[in-house]
Symmetry: C2
Subunit: 237 residues, 2 copies
Amino acid sequence: MANNTSSGNSPTAEPKTLVETAYRALRRDIIEGHLAPGEKLRVEHLKDDYGVGAGTLREALSLLISDALVVSQGQRGFRVAPVSLEDFEDITKTRVMLECDALRQSIAMGDDAWEGDLLAAFHRLTKAEEKRIGTDDREEWEERNRIFHEVLISACPSRWLKHFLSILYQQAERYRRLSLYLQPIPRDIHAEHEALMQAAMARDADKATAILGEHILLTFRSVEQIPKDQLNEKLAA
Amino acid sequence: MANNTSSGNSPTAEPKTLVETAYRALRRDIIEGHLAPGEKLRVEHLKDDYGVGAGTLREALSLLISDALVVSQGQRGFRVAPVSLEDFEDITKTRVMLECDALRQSIAMGDDAWEGDLLAAFHRLTKAEEKRIGTDDREEWEERNRIFHEVLISACPSRWLKHFLSILYQQAERYRRLSLYLQPIPRDIHAEHEALMQAAMARDADKATAILGEHILLTFRSVEQIPKDQLNEKLAA
DNA sequence: GTTTTTAAAAATCTCGAGAAAAAACGTTGA
DNA sequence: TCAACGTTTTTTCTCGAGATTTTTAAAAAC
């Protein structure tokens, strides 16, 4: 949490070292599913793909363990962290608890600047949603969605809470992407975000947390309802 | 959480690689305060102290970032994570929230085997406390205290909650040790543990979480009340 | 006396090669 | 046909050396 190299770091700071570059590229490929869950990460192969030395790549992989995107076992190398419906459910429930608590604190502590940031983040998200119709630049929307959630809880004074939430968000994003190819978004996410934003601005903590909790839970439900056989194709390690 | 190399792993599994060995040695030295908060960790020096190569040590340090015991910045190497009273307060509050929630779930889900484990862990802790009078094998007590808290919440089904708690516990232990030299334990910790154990066995979740919350908070209070100038000697980075 | 510039020293970051372990493969025997 | 064994191949783990960058210290300029 208190470092620039690992999880939860400011995404705007550009990488200054090769380790950092490889770390980001790998993280992206894992979250986007280009590296499948459970897949073996052979250093000898990957070092060529990412254009770095073996030691550098090992270090990047070690960093990814912080984010629970990579696992390692003894003398048997690295693997992409496996996925499961149970894990996603756990992530969802834990995230609901933590993020609602953080939101409550944020609403209580947030000042005018926070309100401004929130409004701005919501606006940018809305713009991305409008552009997105038909187009395929999902990345832009994903990034702005992340920032919107981040800004929502930004006035919460607990660094640790925010640190844990950044990890959980990242994990959830991974599951969301894995299921994306199977099921288009059936919900009116924009309406959910708008209601959430307005409740937060109105300082209605009960309402805001209720909406947020439901919002996060619905994402899980939509994945949960995907037929198991289709899901297992993706989840197979 | 889902790996054997990083935080929250089973402490009984012996290290099979030099990276793992160095990781544990470094972690121990940081938690015990032999490596001071904020201290620069020069790879060229440390590799000799720990008897490994530069690359190996770098990897171990990368692993310690997961535990937030080490921080790194760009091209300026590694440092021991700094400490502050604010940070400890955050750790404490976050831990109270998460650990109480986990305990509640554990009490609800725990079976007979869990009760047995809890009883056993409490017994071992008691024995260590009796032996400790006068002697100085703090390590034994620390380990058993950790296990007691771990067993308490072991029946909680959320892996992520337990993962986060293991990180927070480790952080708290570090602060506890830093303050240990300044202030002897004035509390009757044994009584607190016993009441906690009994409430858990009686499945009285409200009572158990109340005791646990107070138990964790008291540790913070005892550090908080240490005169600031004495504290800053230790906390100085 | 203070600040800026410049040069030397130290540390970080990176890579490729060699030893140890695990996995893959074919062979032998029942 | 199947299982057990030993060899070969692959992969991981580890180390030391070289290129950049940062830090330190001294010299020069204001």
